[in-house]
Symmetry: C2
DNA sequence: CACTTGTTTGCAAACGTTTGTAATAATTTT
DNA sequence: AAAATTATTACAAACGTTTGCAAACAAGTG
């Protein structure tokens, strides 16, 4: 591996000049800069990342922790993050917790080992609270994505899930439905709770009673949506519409309904939440609550990088997105 | 941030002893080791990654380049990789090329900057050949996943796609089909070519003529499968079966057929390739060629780490998996 | 020409580890 | 009890950068 000294020797100049030249610092003669740049290129010189970050204390890396990178839900978030990151030259280091508390500490270690400059935690659950607060105390630049912790020091980028749940339910109500079921997400996740509350609010506003029998709980996966729908199909009097806490469960519900021979949306209307890429491809295409995931990922990275570059600001950023409904054919 | 010196001072010992104690080197008295470990924990000491890798020349990180991490296709690969990596304590650094040659050079820089110890390239296309060979010359430990370049120095983990294509087609032939269409992947990707050739071989073996009209080309995406199938439905005489080069295109085909009112598999049988998670959830569940992606990801990392630990071996590893058919209901 | 000013370059320290070797302490052997 | 051996610890160099400051050089000024 060629080092800065090799380049320096070749050009006949000291390492410090090479460093300055390559980093575009001012105060080096244009002609020597050119010579240096050329030599560096010829020799295939790349500054050693470890050496550099040892002295600058900068890694230009942002650690991202999420439950499972390969959930289709994260797709757009990741793309948005990468867009921002590549614009500012940052590298993203992904880490999957797989919902294990132990694994979510990986990120903590990364911070202490100075492998990352900043951190994004996406969709954390309640158990991780303590460890998140530790980050705040250590003044680590970070943002919480997909969640709002009402602590003014914590930067949050999230969706108004309450409003989303309200919107979805309201849409069904406006279509004349009065028996509307809800397949909720796992309790313990704030998003699930918020969407449920939005659902209740809309019901209440319409003067309808909240019926526990019409609420099923799942863990955001296809199978749970399928099973929950199977049960709901047996409810008496039958429900005529169902709002699922996410699209993946809606897919399962769609399938269960199709198997029962009922028609969507004539017999039962379905509305999902998230607007996954696949949601426009189901049969029928899924009406759903759109979440600007790309945008949110993009902003999360933008905020962290700006914290990194301008120094942490005292008061946290709270970026709340308002969801909207994408009307397709299932409701 | 607490450094090794802080810990040393606290315990009343030199930094070198602390280093040895914490790294479980032999030659430090048990009682002092205990004191050191305790102090380190209390003080929240974490070794600085940059400083360490500067002297050891080890980052314990493997760079992974793929087209787009968020394709559902990669899901199982990633999980397999993470499994191996976490077992040996390695970190995975993902990088998306988004099929741009420029972005695929990111990894090259990572290697030169010594940010990664080894590299995995998954599903590269032909254009990247030159840059791959450069890695070989620089003796960078790496494996090529999802592809075989017939260079004995290159470690490859891949599927026998030719056999897979053969198997899928043979299955349809055995069911009595004689007009079998193929929705192929993008030319320029070896996998697409191989699967096509397997298809031809099976046809030939059965004494059937290869009919160009029955082969469509897509870019592995839903829309292309859908469009291709729409066209195929108009072919005369009609085809009674279709083999798609991947599952995502099969999903599109399924939809196109459903819309035409034909029944699957009675009127048209469909067989896919990959066995995505979602493939068992389509309507009807998709018969497909299974690819052990988890296993392959796992092995790829295992090979790189073992190269890293035992020093690069001269002759490359060639790990070829044989696909098998998962029979569901679409064919 | 001497003097100031400004530009360009070099020196050396620092970043936090690891590690070979020397020094010291503890233990065993004679 | 001295010598030899072994176990434990300390020292110092090294890894490849960056950067404050001093040195050298060039150019302009009186």
């Amino acid at each position: 591996m060629t080092t800065i000294k090799d380049v320096a020797k070749r050009v006949g100049v000291s390492p410090s000049v090479v460093s300055r030249a390559l980093n575009n610092r001012y105060g080096v003669k244009e002609s020597t800069r050119e010579k240096i740049v050329r030599a560096a290129k010829e020799m295939g010189y790349y500054p050693n990342a470890a050496a550099r970050s040892l002295v600058t204390r900068i890694t230009a890396t942002i650690g991202v922790m999420m439950a499972d990178l390969s959930e289709p839900y994260y797709t757009q978030i990741i793309r948005g993050m990468e867009f921002s990151a590549s614009k500012t030259g940052y590298t993203l280091l992904f880490s999957n917790s797989y919902e294990s508390l132990e694994k979510s500490k990986v990120l903590e270690k990364m911070v202490y080992a100075e492998r990352v400059d900043g951190v994004i935690i996406v969709g954390s659950n309640v158990e991780e609270q303590e460890y998140i607060l530790k980050l705040v105390e250590k003044k680590v630049p970070f943002v919480l994505l997909e969640r709002d912790i009402p602590d003014p020091r914590i930067n949050c980028v999230y969706l108004d899930n309450f409003y989303g749940g309200y919107l979805a339910t309201k849409y069904l109500l406006d279509k004349g439905h009065t028996r509307i079921a809800h397949i909720s997400g796992k309790i313990g996740f704030q998003v699930a709770l918020d969407r449920l509350e939005g659902y209740k609010k809309a019901l209440h506003e319409a003067g309808l009673l909240f019926d526990k029998e019409l609420v099923m709980t799942g863990n955001f996966v296809w199978q749970d949506g399928y099973a929950a729908m199977k049960k709901l199909l047996r409810s008496q009097p039958p429900c005529t519409a169902v709002f699922t806490a996410n699209d993946t469960m809606a897919f399962g519900a769609l399938q269960a309904i199709a198997e029962s021979g009922l028609s969507i949306p004539k017999d039962i209307a379905v509305i999902g939440f998230d607007d996954l890429e696949f949601s426009s491809l189901t049969n029928p295409p899924l009406t759903t609550v759109h979440q600007p995931r790309y945008e949110m990922g993009k902003e999360a990275v933008r905020i962290v990088t700006s914290l990194l570059q301008q120094g942490a600001s005292e008061k946290g950023v709270k970026l709340c997105y308002r969801p909207e409904i994408i009307i397709r054919r299932s409701a």
